[in-house]
Every structure is written in C-alpha cells, then in structure tokens.
Amino acid sequence: MQISGAQMVIEALAQEGVTTVFGYPGGAIMNVYDEIYKQENFEHILTRHEQAAIHAAEGYSKVTGKVGVAMVTSGPGFTNAVTGLADAYMDSIPMVVISGQVPMSLIGTDAFQEIDAVGISRSCTKHNYLVTDASDLARVLKEAFHIAATGRPGPVHVDIPKDVTAQIAEFDYSKPVELETYKPVTKGNARQIKKAIEAIAAAKRPLLYLGGGIINANAAYEVRELAKVMGIPAVETFMARGTMGHENPLLISMLGMHGSYAANMAMSETDLVIALAARFDDRVTGKLSEFAKNAGVIHVDIDPASISKLVNADYPIVGDVKNVVEAMLELAPKKIDSARYEPWLETIGHFDSLHPLQYHEDSERIKPQWVIERIGELLGDNANISTDVGQHQMWTAQFYPFSRPRQFISSGGLGTMGFGFPAAIGVKSGAPDKVSINVTGDGSILMNIQELMTAVEYKLPVINIILNNNFLGMVRQWQTLFYDKRHSSTDLSVQPDFVKVAEGFGGIGYSVSTKEEFDAALKDAVEKNVVAMIDVKVHRMENVLPMVPAGGSLFNMMLEYKDK
C-alpha cells in the first residue's frame, strides 16, 4: 500500500498494538501529528515538557510490561527528551521514541531546530535510526519495537526528517524482522545450569541476589517458587523490589548502600551468590574487593556484558532469567535439600533481630519513614508506587510493603529527579484500577511540576506525597556526614505553597503536619479521585540509615547517626 511516511508511523504503531502515546508536537513532527489527529487507534497524551513525555512512557512501560512510546519534535524537543532516554537506557526499559528532524535537504546546515539527534542518542539508547527514505520506515519501526523488547530491553530512538514523513512510498509491515547481527541468547546452557545447581547443593550459605531483570522478564513468580523449593533466602536490589513480596519469609530485604543490616551481612557471609538478572551496581556492592569475599558466584543474565564485568562469575549463565529459573526448577527438587540451609536462615534471623530496619518516632514532627509505612498500611497492594530521587526514594524502597512486581516504579540507574510525577501519570494510564502514588521530595517535585496540567487534563489522578523537609535531603545528608555540615545550596526554606500550586492547576492540595491530618488527606484524595498534592512537613534532619558510605564495604554500615 502506498502511503505517506507520517501515515506509516500511525500504521506501524497500530500494528504493534500501541494504545497510548506520550508526546509533544513541534515543527518537524507536524506531519505525524496531523495523522494522529485523524486516527483513533491510540490515545495521545500531551505532556507539558518532552522530558515528562519520556518518563510517562517509562512509567507506562514499567507498569504494563509493554513497549512505551513517546514522540517529540526536532532540536530542543529532542534534547529535552535525552534525560528520559538515558534513564530508560540505564534501567533497561523497552521504549520506542520517535523524533522529528529537519528536512533532509537542510540536514547539516545548522537549520532552525536542527540537532544531530542520532549523534546525541547513540550513547544513551540501545539502538537508533535516522530514516532517510520512507520506504525504510516499515522495516525500521518493526526492528525498533523488536530490539526494544527483546534481549536486554532498552530504548530505541527513531529520527525522521520532515520530508520523509511527507514522502509517499510502499508500506508493508508483514515482513518478519531479519537482523542477522542481533540474536540474543535466551535459553541458558543446560550443562552450566546443572553445574550451578550442583554448586548450590554443595553450598552451606547460599544467597539469592535478585535484580531488576527479573521484573523485566516477568519471572518474579518463578523466582519465588525457586526460592521456596530450595529454601534459600533472598536479597533484592532496589530495582527488584516487589519480586518476592514483603510477606515472604525468605525475603531478607533490600541490600546495598541503604540496604538492611541483615541483607548486607547475609551478602558478606554467604558462600554462594546466586545472582539473577542483577548487575553488581556500585550502589549494591560497595567496595568490590570486599564484596561477598568468600563466595562463589552464579550469574544469570540476558546480557553477556553484565557477566564478569565487575565481579567474576564462577558459573556464568547467559539467558532469559525466566527460562533459566524454569530449568533450575526442574532440577532443584531432586538435587537440593532445603533443610541443609536452615542454620543459615537462623543466622540471618539473628542479624535481623540484632539491627532491624527501624526509625525513631519524634513527638513534634512526622518522621518520613512513618509516612511510607502508613501509605503501605492504608493502600498496600492497592497502589502502585512511583518515586522521585533522593531520601524519600530510599525510604520508600526500605519501608513500603511491596507485594508484587511492577508495583514500584523508580529511577534506579540514572537517578533522575523529576522522574516520579510524569512516571506516575504513565503508571495511572497503564493501570487505571490502582491508585497511583508519587512519593516525592520538595526538591524533586519542582523538576516536573508542570505535569500537574497533564494529569488534570487527562483525568489521571496521581497523588503526589511530598516528604517536605525543606532540604535537598540526600545531598544535605552527605554534607552533614562527610562535609562537616556545610550545607551548601541544599536549604530549600524558600518554597512555593504547594497547596495553592495544586489548586492553581485545578488539582487539590493538602498541607499536613500531623499523623491524623495525613490519614485524612490521603483518604480524601483517594476518595475524591482527583490529582492531588499532599505536602507533608516531616522532620528536617532525618537521615537514611543504615548507610554504607560510598566505596566502603557492605559490612561496615553506619547504623545510627548521633549529632555531636
């Protein structure tokens, strides 16, 4: 069929089953937006900034498991989107981002709103394309969706010059993807899996180290089963929160810089690390030479480059974690006696009772950790929880009772402030039946506050809960601990009236200083089902603890901070 490049984009998205696109129009992408106006295949959600369009698509993708789609124009439209691309790349989120480009005849002339988009996105996407002929569009878009969703997922960027979207050419989306150079290994090597199971059977203190790839691979319930069958305890990375479910007796907690004492001690004492789709990030391992020092390492990952990158794997297994765990589940019942690990579970229980994750109540001000626990008590499984970046993010990861995968949506790898609100908008549009909470800080929320307008316009009732300590809290914490309390440029005493801000955009705002007020505000916001901001005045100087100082060993945790 002979259609225009712009029509091809619409047609390809329809064939891919896309139902929601986030974006922002502009000169170079107008032909495509003209076709969006005419079609009814998908809803287009106009964010109020291109960065937010990408984050919203990320949130949508994370909660649904589908490829997120966003659309922006050339030049500043694209450069605004770069942070989102980098964020999706670091957290392996499958995305297709389409940008307009100046017409082919103007490329390279420093034309209005021209930027070398593929040159910029090369280092923060899984792959990218500059489409120079409309007859390539079907193939390119099909490849883009395929590459984004397979192997280690990631964002793919497609840059389309304006004249290419106007060009009429043949469109045939039925041809299968043929990429001779891209064939991810998904099935783990059977012999390696057998060896790994034997190593587990021989270990005394094995530990499952669960990474975010489990959630990407939809393998959480298989992993729960594997842990149960083997009777082996598990630690979750930040990205893997929700994999085991908070009530699971085999779940220790999160490990790493702000992991629990028990989780970090378990990692330090284990004799066999069973890493499932985790990548040994520096925020997880602390000082590498001291990390799980006496342990063998089984490492299952879809990305061969993640294996033995930082920690040498004794049993490397390249494959889709779901396939590999299923293969392990076939062998485990015969080979592994779970009773063998009972003393190890006891040791871990002892670690946990020695220094449980906790905080101390304050009679004057609400403690931020209490807010997180309270959201958990009031909403629990009924909410999806997005966060921004900083102290509130770590407290959420520590104290929220996550019960399922895809419940927790946060910027892990890149640590992007401003991620939470637009992501929570995408989460709400992808999972309308759950309450969409954005736990944020008084710093982060201002980085994409304009999205109040998007949420109000599209009736996506995100509830923003601001843990307001009048500080850029995490940086302030580091300044307190490591910079002799020189709180350089982190005091946010001057700030807007968040209630009025919310109301100004047509949402609803609550100012909260007591626990009773918080309960009332959250209940009211959930009941009214409108876009809300709950500004919670919390204790100003609270620190996220435990803490492994950057570059320190996991077992050297700061458990308390006493102000001298």
Partner: protein, 157 residues
C-alpha cells in the same frame, strides 16, 4: 596476569553509515584506548571488517569484546591470539637524499620506491607493525618529509 598488553581485535559489522561512530563512541565512552583502527568493506558482502589495535588487561579486553558484540550492527568480534598482521607505511623524502640507500632499506622491509617527482620520492613498506616502526627509525637520518601509517590489518592463522 598479563596486564595492559597490546591486543588486536577484528570486528565484522553491517555496512551502514553510522556503524563506525557507534564503535568509536563505545571506546571513548567506556574509556578504552584505540591505538589504530582500519576499516574497509568485505568484498561481495554487506559487511565491513574493522581491525582495532588496542591495549588492556584480559578483563578489559573481555569487556571490550562483549560491549562491541552488544552493538546491533556487529556480527562478529574476535581477539586474535595467533595471527598474521601487516601494516603499510608511505614516506616522502626530499630528492637530495641518498636514493640507493633508501631503496636498499626499503627492500629489507618489504618495500620499494613507488613514485618519483621532481622534488620528492615516495616509498612504501608493508610489514609487521613492529618492523614498520623499526623501518621508520632506520630512515630517520634521511630526513623524511612526511610519514603516514595505515594501521594494522590482521587475519587469524
């Protein structure tokens, strides 16, 4: 462990305009060093072959190979252990130098005089990279005006 030794890596890539920058971007983004890089299409195929001379520990090289492999247009990557390696150099001398001496040295390094102008003569040599370096040392006293090296190409034995 053999640390920071010279390595020769061959990369077979799909022949499209952006591929070379994907590869060089990868090296700079991850802090790997490129000593030389040559690229040319493989005859009668849609692929090109790159020969990259780099250096690093075995762990770094393993990462380089894996990261290269992750690039979508990359078909194959191999590090050569047992290889035949050649490099070419072109040198321009002023006419006044001792031509027969230069010619004799070229002969010893698999080379010859390839072009003679009114003021300058051109010679080429093609040999192992180390020997090309030796050659360039040996001809220093004949005041070469300009030198260009091609970078290494290699094939596994």
């Amino acid at each position: 462990m053999s640390d920071n030794v010279r390595r020769v890596v061959s990369v077979i890539v799909y022949n499209e305009s952006s591929t070379l920058s994907r590869i060089t971007d990868l090296f700079s983004a991850r802090g790997y060093n490129i000593e030389s890089l040559t690229v040319a299409p493989i005859p009668e195929s849609k692929y090109s072959r790159l020969t990259i001379v780099t250096s690093g520990s075995s762990r770094v090289i393993e990462q380089i190979i894996k990261q290269l492999h992750k690039l979508i247009p990359v078909l194959k990557v191999y590090e050569h252990a047992d290889l035949v390696e050649k490099e070419m150099a072109l040198v321009k001398f002023p006419m006044g130098e001792n031509i027969s001496d230069i010619d004799a040295i070229c002969g010893a390094y698999n080379g010859k005089i390839v072009n003679v102008g009114t003021d300058v003569i051109f010679v080429m040599v093609a040999d192992e990279p180390k020997r090309v370096s030796n050659f360039l040392n040996a001809i220093k006293k004949y005041h070469p005006k300009e030198i260009v090296r091609s970078g290494a190409v290699a094939l596994e034995r």
